[in-house]
């Protein structure tokens, strides 16, 4: 005799049953319809099927046959929450419950920041616009103090002077000494927890027509806008987290400044490549803020590496905004479904007109009236009013990289 006979469940097509995670004990007799009893194997994970049955009926190329699986086994499968594909074309995808995978899902919903706040420090921020910035990751700085900015300026100047003496050229034709200047960049923090942004400028004196003029050779700034609160609070007191470093100027100077920062503050600078997925987020977020003042076409660029081809698409900003408005619902948030729908609309439009499947290519550049971003980590800001749409997202990406994917490369690229 065995345990009381349980009626077999009839699987209902189109629904998924909740996963049962309770482990079944070893040997048991499974229910399989009136009169039939099948013995099951003793290790967990199988559901009362006979192994020999499966091996003899091994697949020999029958693609549309589900008769091999007995109804009892099907009931077992249903109970465990696994439902394999039916013979019709629509698959029943199973939800197997939350599982700790080593892969992290980046957030599916992102908030739209408010832009009605007045911009402080307008002139300094205006100096950040219209320049091609190179992005870098910066790990938290150790013992960086806002009161010692003058000291840092002097030290960096001395460092650059010694490097120049050693023969590292800053720019062709510059022989006179260069000077570095650290200053606070107000107006770039979103909350009270963000550290103030810092701007670095390297100027050289050039003699033009017997007059000595100062020329800015290299400029950079570090900021943290709306950073991850949990991470910022978990940092020890001596550390200041300014994860984004923007640099504009010759590569040699960037290397020098980077070396000095790494030596002085025990931090680490690494390159900041932007993935295609994050570029699509940027395209959607920037299509969302439509600015009447600046009329700039929305440009997207895809690259097809095997063929060395670059495809560039220009969209009228009003059309982009109209398309986005028809997809976007919630005032405060953007979900990943809206972003994917936006991109797939553009893909299908392109496919219909040109026959090129953009889903198989890689998005490398997004350019709108708000900003322009390239996958190598290059950024250009156009509008000081919409700067809050760009920087919090980049800060979030930087924090994500610090926390979950630290990449230790041995050079600045």
């Amino acid at each position: 005799r065995g345990p009381p006979h349980r009626p077999a469940e009839q699987p209902v097509p189109g629904t998924t049953s909740p996963p049962s995670r309770a482990a079944r004990p070893g040997n048991h007799l499974s229910p399989s319809g009136p009169g039939k009893r099948t013995a099951s194997l003793s290790y967990p994970g199988t559901s009362g099927w006979r192994i020999s049955e499966l091996i003899t009926r091994g697949p020999r190329g029958n693609w549309f046959n589900m008769e091999h699986v007995t109804s009892a086994a099907r009931a077992e499968i249903k109970q465990r929450g696994v439902c394999f594909a039916n013979t019709d074309a629509t698959p029943a995808v199973v939800k197997t419950g939350k599982r700790q995978t080593p892969f992290r899902q980046s957030s599916a919903i992102r908030k739209i920041p408010r832009t009605d706040l007045p911009v402080e420090n307008a002139e300094q921020i205006a100096a950040l616009l219209q320049k091609q910035w190179r992005l870098y990751h910066l790990t938290p700085l150790y013992r960086f103090s806002y009161t010692m900015l003058k000291k840092y300026s002097n030290e960096l100047s001395v460092f650059i002077a010694t490097e120049q003496k050693r023969g590292v050229a800053i720019e062709v034709g510059i022989e006179l000494a260069s000077k570095a200047k650290f200053s606070m960049l107000a107006g770039l923090r979103a909350t009270e927890n963000d550290p103030e942004a810092v701007s670095i400028q390297i100027t050289t004196k050039t003699s033009v027509h017997q007059a000595v003029a100062e020329k800015v050779v290299w400029s950079g700034w570090m900021c943290c806008v709306d950073g991850d609160l949990g991470f910022l609070e978990s940092l020890p007191v001596e550390f200041i987290c300014l994860p984004l470093l923007f640099a504009n100027g010759p590569e040699t100077v960037t290397t020098m400044v980077g070396e000095w920062l790494q030596k002085t503050f025990d931090c680490y600078i690494s390159a900041f490549p932007i993935s295609s997925e994050n570029l699509t987020w940027m395209a959607a977020m920037w299509a969302n803020c439509f600015s009447d003042s600046v009329h700039r076409v929305m440009e997207l660029e895809w690259s097809v590496p095997p063929v060395q081809l670059t495809i560039s698409l220009s969209i009228h900003p009003e059309d982009a905004k109209a398309l986005w408005d028809s997809i976007h619902e919630d005032e405060d948030e953007i979900t990943i479904d809206e972003v994917e729908l936006f991109m797939s609309c553009l893909h299908s439009h392109f496919y219909r007109h040109f026959g090129v499947r953009l889903a198989a290519t890689q998005l490398v550049k997004v350019s709108t009236a708000v900003a322009s971003a390239h996958c190598d980590g290059k950024l250009k800001l156009f509008n000081s009013k919409h700067i809050d749409h760009v920087l919090p997202f980049l800060t979030e990406l930087a924090f994500h990289q610090i926390q979950y994917q630290p990449r230790l490369c041995n050079s600045l690229d």
């Binding site: 996963p19 994970g45 499966l54 549309f64 091999h68 699986v69 629509t90 996958c375």
Partner: protein, 162 residues
């Protein structure tokens, strides 16, 4: 009777399936393997009768191309349910370069979990990486074809159940 075990590689042509197939055939093994390539399923219906035996199906997905993931998702319904007991494997290609990724590894892992099959990250650019991947696939094929005594495809698949 001379048995050839069949392994099917399903994926878009940009992934250079033929190079991986060559790497699999070059490996030293004690049994004969036929490698078949397909861009998508279902296979054309003409050769239904003479189709050789299929022991392992490998679905290749490129993290850089949303299109390859969609192709695989559209092909999965055409696979007989018995295959998912350890005879199906997913391969995620292109995870090394961050800047061209348009699909997240998390989505691929969800897909593989929903079909109770393993997901292997592989790099198919250089010959040694192809060699390593080929060796791994051959090991899976050995289990799936029943050549390893004491380990069946079902046992292997039960190890990765959530």
């Amino acid at each position: 009777m001379y048995l050839h075990y069949g392994i099917y590689l399903v994926g878009s042509e940009a992934l250079h399936l033929d190079q991986l197939a060559a790497a699999i055939l070059k490996e030293n093994k004690s049994f004969e393997v036929n490698v078949h390539l397909a861009k998508r399923l279902p296979l054309p219906a003409e050769n239904e009768q003479t189709r050789p035996r299929i022991d392992l199906i490998v679905f290749l997905m490129d993290l850089r191309s949303q299109h390859s993931v969609e192709t695989v998702k559209a092909s999965l319904p055409y696979v007989d349910v018995n295959f998912f007991l350890g005879k199906v494997c997913f391969l995620a290609v292109g995870g090394k370069a961050v800047k061209h990724q348009s699909v997240e590894m998390y989505t691929l892992k969800q897909l593989a979990d929903s079909y109770s099959s393993p997901l292997i990250s592989a790099e198919l650019e250089s010959p040694d990486r192809r060699c390593v991947t080929a060796r791994r696939l051959l090991q899976l094929l050995k289990v799936a074809a029943g050549l390893v005594p004491g380990v069946s495809a079902l046992a292997l698949s039960s190890l990765i159940r959530p």
